[in-house]
Symmetry: C2
Subunit: 150 residues, 2 copies
Amino acid sequence: MHKGLSIGYVARRTGLAVSAIRYYEEEGLVQPGRDRGDRRVFQRGDIRRLSFVLIAQRLGFALADIRAALDDLPQGRNPTRADWARLAEGFRQEIDSRIEGLTLLRGKLDGCIGCGCLSLDRCALYNPHDKAATRGEGPRYLMGDRSDEF
Amino acid sequence: MHKGLSIGYVARRTGLAVSAIRYYEEEGLVQPGRDRGDRRVFQRGDIRRLSFVLIAQRLGFALADIRAALDDLPQGRNPTRADWARLAEGFRQEIDSRIEGLTLLRGKLDGCIGCGCLSLDRCALYNPHDKAATRGEGPRYLMGDRSDEF
DNA sequence: CTCCGATATCAAGTAAGGTTGAGGTCAAGC
DNA sequence: GCTTGACCTCAACCTTACTTGATATCGGAG
């Protein structure tokens, strides 16, 4: 009996605001059906999709990236455990590479502490081309794009 | 001979856009003087301040946080190497705690891969109270603030 | 002296990720 | 039958971190 879930229920289960869920629908992250009263009808799997969104956001992904990832889920059939596990594996790799980037950064920082050199041209810490730690950082979309300006 | 630096020079040295530097002044991150023609006059130390801003941004700090950190620099005298090293030490700790958070997250994720459980109520991966990885993620400033909604 | 390039100000626009409010509908409970 | 709560839409607003454009002025080169 696929009774379907109301937006309020999904909101309570995910901790998202109702308005946020509607926004996510607008962004194509979930595609609930409608009942005859035009109210959104979610399935259990949608809670999982939204959980995915929340976790991915914590990793700093933009909604557009997350949508792209979710679009890789099979459209016709229900996503299986294996499908989700595949996505999780992608996460794992992303986490790995972040840890690696931060570790690298820390090493450089260790080299800088003591000399006090935060000057751009000399300090290994600032390298605009090392984008590893830059992802998902908000509107600094142009950062690093003009290092050839001079 | 403290000749003072023009905004264009500082922009070239830091890789920042002139408009960005003016914006940073507005936000209180630098306080250049003015010449008689009302043009901004920067000191060498301002390049260092701006470098600090860039590095901190890479770590995901908001400008407001960065300003707070910079405000800890001694106001009267010129910042010494030790002052900058102290700030760098704060960075180091932040990086450490991020790596730790991500490592934890990875461990949880490993526990989830295979079971495909991305369901919020069961999966250890999603825990709204674990804010370690949440900082600097843009406008999701309310995230985790409504876990008591239900 | 004149012109150009760098600078100045100020208002408005942009992008992401939402929230808020006005105004309307629907189904259930009393 | 009426009210209440949950839902609907649509437009407007919010924050952060800037950019863009209009318009004006400064200062050095020629």
